[in-house]
């Protein structure tokens, strides 16, 4: 992955999975934009006007509790999209969506995409298949949060994030990792330092680099292997 200058719509796996002639028809509805870390794209209950397909960055979906605490419930990278359901009828966001890792994104107006959904069966199919994958992931993560310990979940999440952006260098703030684990930032620092001590990652303020992927996979819970981008669709009998 370079600095993003050579990225395009086809760096998003969902868009790349559409028949080429079809995407060429839809392409004029799409624009490529850069988004920076922490930028909010949806708030809970707000109308969704645009759909985001990451080419390189990562979007985090957060459930916001009454006291204002935000807990991450899903991450989306180049394997997926955020806001797709707005093209099939539901127009309000359930979660807050923020840019967790900056990058390039393909963006389309929900109205324009809804038109493509109506006109083209392959687009409808793609949404249906992707929804299956997301739902399976949500169930796996719910179980993971209940049964696996913090270090194993942290390892699983680092591996997933690396896959989502296609890089072993993760520009992540301690704050965002804390939201993912639902713990204080200091707890994140100490857990990350213990992984660094094992030589698995390098941790510096705001940056994690995966040094030993194999070891990290060994430290992660089984959920990483189950949810791996290449494998989960196959388990569901779904192809992209």
């Amino acid at each position: 992955m370079g600095n993003g200058s050579s990225l395009g719509h086809s760096d998003n796996r969902l868009l790349a999975a559409l028949p080429r002639e079809l995407f060429e028809l839809m392409q004029h509805d799409f624009k490529q934009i850069s988004l920076s870390q922490g930028q909010a794209i949806y708030e809970p209950g707000e109308q969704i006007d645009e759909i985001y397909f990451p080419q390189s960055g990562m979007i985090s979906l957060l459930v916001v509790a009454k006291d204002g605490a935000a807990i991450e419930t899903a991450t989306i990278g180049r394997e997926g999209a955020v806001g797709l359901h707005s093209a099939v009828g539901m127009r309000l966001s359930f979660t807050r969506a923020t840019i967790q890792i900056p990058g390039k994104f393909s963006v389309v107006r929900a109205n324009a995409f809804a038109q493509s959904v109506q006109n083209h069966a392959p687009v409808r199919d793609l949404i249906a298949r992707y929804t299956e994958v997301l739902w399976a992931e949500a169930q796996q993560i719910a179980a993971c949060n209940a049964i696996h310990d913090g270090p194993a979940r942290l390892c699983r999440w680092l591996l997933q994030s690396a896959d989502r952006i296609g890089s072993n260098h993760l520009p992540l703030t301690q704050e965002l990792i804390a939201q993912m684990l639902g713990v204080r930032r200091t707890t994140v620092t100490l857990l990350a330092q213990s992984l660094q001590r094992r030589g698995v990652i390098e941790y510096a303020r705001g940056h994690i680099t995966i040094l030993d992927r194999e070891h990290l996979e060994h430290c992660a819970c089984e959920c990483y292997a189950i949810m791996q981008q290449e494998k989960l669709p196959l388990k569901l009998g779904v192809r992209f």
Binding site: G150, R184, L191, Q193, R197, Y203
Partner: protein, 80 residues
């Protein structure tokens, strides 16, 4: 507000390299308790060692130790 650093120590030290800005030492004591509880809730062992081998050491910006307690004194719940 002053910075506080929450290190874990057995034979050597796992350092809190980030630190946390807190109002005063009482806030630091409360934070240390919550972090210790979260750690024990999140994992049974730390770097393959029983928690009974670890202690929480809280330092100020100059690296002076302000207080410490053994992790075995801490309840293992998530502090919520």
């Amino acid at each position: 507000m002053p910075m506080y650093y929450f290190h874990l120590r057995d034979q050597d030290m796992v350092e809190d390299i980030d630190g946390t800005e807190l109002a005063d030492i009482d806030a630091a004591r409360a934070h240390a308790q919550v972090v210790a509880q979260e750690l024990k809730f999140e994992t049974d062992r730390f770097l393959d060692e029983e928690w009974s081998r670890w202690s929480m050491r809280v330092h100020d910006e100059e690296g002076q130790e302000l207080f410490s307690f053994p992790m075995s004194d801490v309840r293992s719940d998530n502090g919520k």
